[in-house]
């Protein structure tokens, strides 16, 4: 089942898209999503290591569960302001 992940800033630029669709078994955890994302897009490896994740616009830790009906976003280190 394809899982959509939103990408921003350097992640969006490296992949060339504002979102990607991952082939992943659901439900899974954010840790699983990280593995699948980096396997599919190895250019994101360093960035994923220092990034946080958000599910439905709230920060989560890597043990958070993903069912497939949420908005998932990779949040690289922020630099606003």
């Amino acid at each position: 089942m394809p899982l959509k992940v939103l990408l921003f800033a350097a992640a969006r630029q490296r992949v060339g898209a504002g979102s990607v669709e991952l082939d992943i078994e659901l439900p899974s955890t954010i840790s699983d999503v990280c593995e699948v994302l980096v396997a599919r897009y190895p250019e994101l490896e360093g960035l994923v290591a220092t990034s946080r994740w958000a599910i439905d616009q709230s920060f989560v830790d890597n043990s958070a569960k993903v069912h497939g009906n949420e908005e998932i976003a990779l949040i690289p280190p922020v630099s606003g302001g």
């Binding site: 616009q57 976003a73 690289p76 280190p77 922020v78 630099s79 606003g80």
Partner: protein
Amino acid sequence: MNDLKQFAIELVRDPIDTDRLLARARRPNCGAVLLFLGTTREWTGTNQTEFLEYEAYESMALSEMQKLAEEALGRWSIQFVSIVHRLGRVDPGEASVAIVVSSAHRGAAFQAGKWLIDTLKELVPIWKKDHTASGSSDWLHPTIVSPKPLTLETGMDDSGRVISAEES
């Protein structure tokens, strides 16, 4: 005593209108109105910035900024908070972010204002891209490397964090 607490949160793509922000912030029960502007700085060590470009995860940036305003209003004796962040191109000297705090007395405004900008820079999903005078452009994704003082050439900002530019 009128204890009504309000906030105003915005993402904009035009130059930040500080006159409008300040007009909205004045209240008869407030003796202090504090305005902080974060502006594009041209030089960081030997790196010359031609302009900064800001991108946001907009829905989450707005909700995180609202959470900051609500928390500040709860923690300090302040009456009004406004947070405005600009997206897109911001030239040297122009403001990318404005924070306004109104309070009865200035002590709370200064404390809340500092906390708001410090915390925005840690939590809000907004990113800046440095378009340099030499033609390169890098998204800035700062990771905390060391609390030890570093030289200007390594691009340390005034919070002590090392800015490591992602090659893009």
